[in-house]
């Protein structure tokens, strides 16, 4: 899929564990793991809103559009 989820990057930046994020936004930890690995078909706006609120970020920090064959522009941890 061309939509890449960079949630793991933001979690590392904010030093928040998946489990804690799941608890704060009210979804199962397994679903957070699946979201991180991109194995979901979509994300609801309210879920995205809660993630952005907890991680203090923008949707574009978590979601990236990468056409087939291109490398990532945003994979930095710092």
């Amino acid at each position: 899929m061309a939509i890449i989820v960079n949630l793991d990057v933001m979690l590392a930046k904010r030093k928040i564990r998946s489990r804690d994020l799941a608890a704060q936004i009210g979804i199962a930890e397994q679903n957070v793991s699946l979201l991180k690995s991109g194995k979901v078909k979509g994300i609801r706006f309210d879920t995205l809103e809660k993630i952005c609120a907890v991680l203090d970020c923008q949707p574009g920090d978590i979601l990236e559009y990468r056409p087939e064959g291109e490398t990532s522009l945003k994979r930095d941890v710092g």
Partner: protein, 193 residues
């Protein structure tokens, strides 16, 4: 509306609608399972009791069908009993599929693809049981009355309830196909977090 259809996605821990539904249909599921077992047991007991007592069987055939079975050979008698039991076995298979379907509902597998497929399997078992009865019925009556010229009647071939059984099985199969598609759509939606 979805319970866990996808193996990876977890439903919310508190799924009150599903819990309410299970509470509502729990007694129906148990009742249906018990009724199926009672029906199968009842039919089996009737078969055994009818065939165990040959004089009474002959008497009943004479009384209801105006047919004298006293000249029926033991081999034909045994074959007719075997055919009865074969038809019962097909009905028992249907009973097992119904038991399994409602057992799945009781354990929470309601709006899943596999629940819909179990319903389809039950419908197919219904078709098999009906066609087995319709197919074996002429052989059954031929076994009993084939040696008596002119005694085979229309009821040996087809009966009105045969069409009813086929209609019911078709209805269940169509419903199961609809449920399966709905479960697949729900499965897709459940992969949206």
């Amino acid at each position: 509306m979805t319970d866990v259809a996808s193996p990876g996605i977890q439903a919310p821990a508190n799924n009150p609608r599903l819990a309410i539904l299970r509470a509502k249909i729990g007694w129906i599921c148990h009742a249906i399972r018990i009724a199926v077992m009672l029906w199968l047991g009842w039919v089996l007991v009737r078969i055994i009791m009818s065939w165990y007592d040959r004089p009474t069987l002959e008497q009943n055939f004479f009384k209801f069908f105006d047919v004298d079975l006293s000249s029926l050979s033991q081999a034909r008698y045994a074959l007719a009993l075997a055919l009865s039991l074969l038809v019962w076995t097909c009905a028992a298979a249907l009973g097992w599929f119904i038991w399994r379907l409602f057992g799945g509902y009781l354990s929470g597998r309601i709006f899943t693809v596999d629940a819909a497929m179990r319903m389809q399997a039950a419908a197919i078992a219904g078709f098999v049981a009906t066609f087995a009865e319709v197919g074996l019925r002429p052989l059954y009556y031929l076994t009993l009355m084939g040696h008596l010229p002119g005694k085979l009647q229309w009821y040996a071939y087809v009966q009105p309830n045969d069409l009813l059984h086929i209609l019911l099985a078709s209805f269940i199969f169509a419903l199961a196909t609809i449920f399966k598609t709905a479960a697949e759509i729900a499965d897709d939606h459940s992969q949206i977090v």
